[in-house]
């Protein structure tokens, strides 16, 4: 019974999120290639955000956390949305579902393409089965998970409502009204998601409460497939791209050893970026709303989410500022670099704060992390290759906004790990890889999209006589 309740509780974010996303979708959009995967993937993320927002609201209203108080209203609203949408767009939804089943069963593929499709599906399935086994069997393992995140989970679950966490001095001053852990100001989305899983299960279990990490990885796979299909990839090539995006070893580690917020951060950031770029392209209110929800969710997952959300500004400025957009953004990047350079060469003091920055990145450790260790398989070799081969496509329409976001993200990492004392975390291979994980899935998607654009362009240049990589399938 508990397991059934756990499964039902795990399905709720999908049910709620897809209902919200579907409600924002126009009928004509539903049947486009990859749309089902995109809506399902982003739907889960929206569902996670919706549930944790609702839990915050319950706490404000002094309503205890419970299956009914959390799940009841959300289920009812989602059900109403589903009924309304199915009634208003029945034909489109049925057609999209049929099309999704056709894609999953590779009906449109023949010969080796069909074998490759099932081979990749099996490979992905084996990976996810192994990751699921690790989550189900292993009690909470990685350090920060039980010093910074699940600390809050346990307290909120047992007390059935939110309580404030504070630093040691605040804790002493509160006279027992406040709680303490290693990072009391960290955002609450991740602990609340664990709380919900425990509530659905009916007891605290720090193995099973990590099931959302597995589901987030599935959501990322769906987002990747949907994004690649929309960018022009055929079904098989998009599946190969999805296999690449979901196979980054450090990403897998963060599923198997669940409990950190880095994988949720990476997934929300990737989805928010793709959704924003898509909204800038379609100018559809539904896409814009989805992008906005995912963007707002970013800082609630992890504090750097604020900065990651800000890295989308260049894409917005580029698109909205018309023909001057690119110049404005490039000028912005130049200004940032100049400011960093000036701060590295001087020691200005403003309002008592010493603003000097030391530019001393540990290139050896960075090289080791990116190219010699197996954190990322061949991702960063691929990124370099794409920068060389696809240099003419980097700022092509459709690709440029994504390129500018990736550049802004890379600049953020350069600032943190090149100019601040965080470089120590590069040398000992600790936080550097976790911070890069925030950008890695998006960078992989971007590289695949640039490669696809280059493939099509070079295919067109050779008169289209040979199949291009992206369209071969």
């Amino acid at each position: 019974m508990a397991v059934i309740a756990l499964v039902a509780g795990s399905i709720l974010p999908w049910f709620v999120g897809t209902a919200i996303v579907l409600a924002m979708t126009r009928r004509a959009e539903i049947e486009a290639p990859g749309e089902v995967a995109w809506r399902v993937g982003t739907g889960y993320l929206v569902g996670v955000f919706a549930i944790t927002l609702w839990m915050r609201s319950l706490s404000v209203m002094h309503v205890d956390f419970g299956v009914v108080s959390i799940g009841g209203p959300l289920f009812a609203i989602a059900l109403a949305l589903w009924i309304w949408k199915v009634r208003s767009s029945r034909a489109a939804i049925v057609a999209a579902a049929r099309s999704a089943i056709d894609v999953l069963t590779a009906r449109s593929l023949t010969g080796w393409h069909r074998w490759a499709w099932f081979g990749l599906m099996l490979w992905i399935a084996v990976r996810f089965a192994l990751l699921l086994a690790e989550i189900v069997w292993r009690p909470l393992y990685p350090w920060d998970a039980w010093t910074q995140w699940a600390t809050k989970t346990r307290v909120f679950f047992e007390l059935k409502h939110l309580v404030p966490f504070g630093f040691a001095d605040q804790w002493f001053a509160s006279g027992g009204q406040m709680y303490f852990d290693a990072s009391p100001t960290y955002p609450l989305t991740v602990p609340l998601l664990q709380v919900w899983t425990n509530i659905a299960y009916g007891q605290f279990d720090d193995s099973l409460m990590n099931l959302p990490w597995w589901q987030i990885a599935i959501a990322l796979a769906c987002v990747a497939y949907g994004a690649l299909r929309r960018s022009g990839y055929g079904p098989l090539a998009a599946l190969a791209g999805t296999w690449i995006v979901t196979s980054l070893p450090l990403e897998n580690v963060h599923v198997a050893l669940a409990g950190y917020a880095d994988l949720p951060m990476a997934t929300f950031y990737a989805a928010a970026t793709i959704a924003t770029v898509r909204a800038l392209d379609t100018r559809s209110a539904g896409d814009a709303a989805l992008a906005l929800i995912l963007l707002i969710a970013c800082p609630t997952v992890k504090t750097p989410g604020i900065v990651w959300a800000l890295t989308l500004l260049p894409a917005v400025v580029y698109t909205m500022a018309g023909k001057y957009g690119l110049r404005i953004v490039l000028a912005g990047f130049v200004v940032v670099l100049v400011v960093l350079g000036v701060l590295a060469q001087s020691e200005p003091v403003i309002l008592g704060y010493r603003l000097h920055l030391d530019f001393a990145p540990d290139w050896t450790a960075l090289g080791q992390s990116f190219f010699l260790l197996d954190n990322w398989h061949l991702l960063w070799y691929g990124v370099i290759t794409v920068l060389v081969l696809g240099r003419r496509q980097l700022l092509a329409p459709g690709i440029a906004p994504l390129t500018l976001v990736v550049v802004a993200g890379a600049l953020f990492l350069l600032l943190v790990f090149g100019f601040t004392n965080a470089r120590g975390w590069v040398a000992d291979q600790t936080t550097i890889n976790r911070a890069v994980l925030h950008l890695a899935p998006l960078a992989a998607l971007w590289a695949l999209m640039v490669f696809g654009a280059w493939s099509r362009a070079s295919g067109a240049a050779t008169a289209g006589t040979a199949p291009t990589a992206a369209q071969a399938a």
Partner: protein, 402 residues
Amino acid sequence: MQESTVQLSSPVAAAKPLGFGFAAAVLALAVTLLFVGYLMLAAPGKWFPDAKEITWSAADLALSRGSGKLGKNEWALSAPDATGTALLSVTTNFAARDFPVIAWNVDDLPETASAQLLWRTDYEPEKLQGVVLTMNAGHLLPVTMSGNSGWIGHVTGIALLIHGVSLSSVHIHGAAAKPSGIVEIARDRLREWTTFEGWTGASINTVVGGAESQDLPLPLLLAASVAITACGVWLYSRRRSERYPVTLAATIAGLVIVAWAVLDARWVSNLARQVEVTRERYAGKSWREKHLAAEDGALFKFIESARAVLPPTPVRVFVAADADYFRDRAAYHLYPQNVMYDPYYDRLPLPAQLHRGDWLLVYRRRSVQYDPSQQRLRWDGNEPVTATLKLVQEGGALFEIQ
């Protein structure tokens, strides 16, 4: 007429165009050639030596400086001697020129430690010679001795000298003298790539991809092979596009997928081995049983007892332990009690910061004394406070402040 048509069809024109299999074959060739090239460069002596590797187990080694315990397969050091060194040695008899590489199998060397290989030869029997060893991630890298002027004649003894303040974590499994021909080096590299990389505290930050230290990382070899293959096939297709009509983009995509699949197969197989380890330890157990089987099972058991003693309504509980791992874990297991601890440093609050009704949980912590006759509790040399001992178990105690 028919005859002339046949004559016009040259063998080249009639040949079937090559598919992606051609590029894949070139990739396999590139990997092989690069690997063989590496082996030729890496072999310090003969490529195909006659000598066989000599190995010494931990039992063969004698600890002559410092203290430690010989276990089943390893020496576990406990402390250096008064000069801050530990020395393990073994009597040998091999020709220096036949064994150009010496490898010490050592784990968990602290970053602050340093190590040297010492040896004597029959050529200069009175002279004790040494060379500094390179450390990587707590291990010692094999040292190549060919080219060292002291590596001559017959080596009559080798020793490992470790210098460090704290060596209590160091484990020495043995040593090996290696002829280091290309076959042996190839075997070493393959072993490094396929070594099981189980979960450790560092796994959440880094995936090495096999053994902790690797002389030739597999991603680098594969990336270089893909680059060379792509260039080679591209040049070929520019001259013979009718023979190899696959586009450059499709070729690169295919090559990357093949190389990626090799790396990912290694990773997924490592993951499968890890899942087996996890299954053996935790499968079929309840949440509580899993924690009892975990690394901190003894602590979890103690905290269970403490939770039974603590009031059901959360109270302030101060947590003390020497090791941050135990301090932080104890706090985690105690929630939703209102715990206070220093996550990073072994610090307890001043007595004045504790009130009546607070609790103090101590686990493996020095400098805490309790006088049961007077119910006086003191720590770190501070003024004592009145407290009642509520629970005592091996390594831990729970007090209620009065």
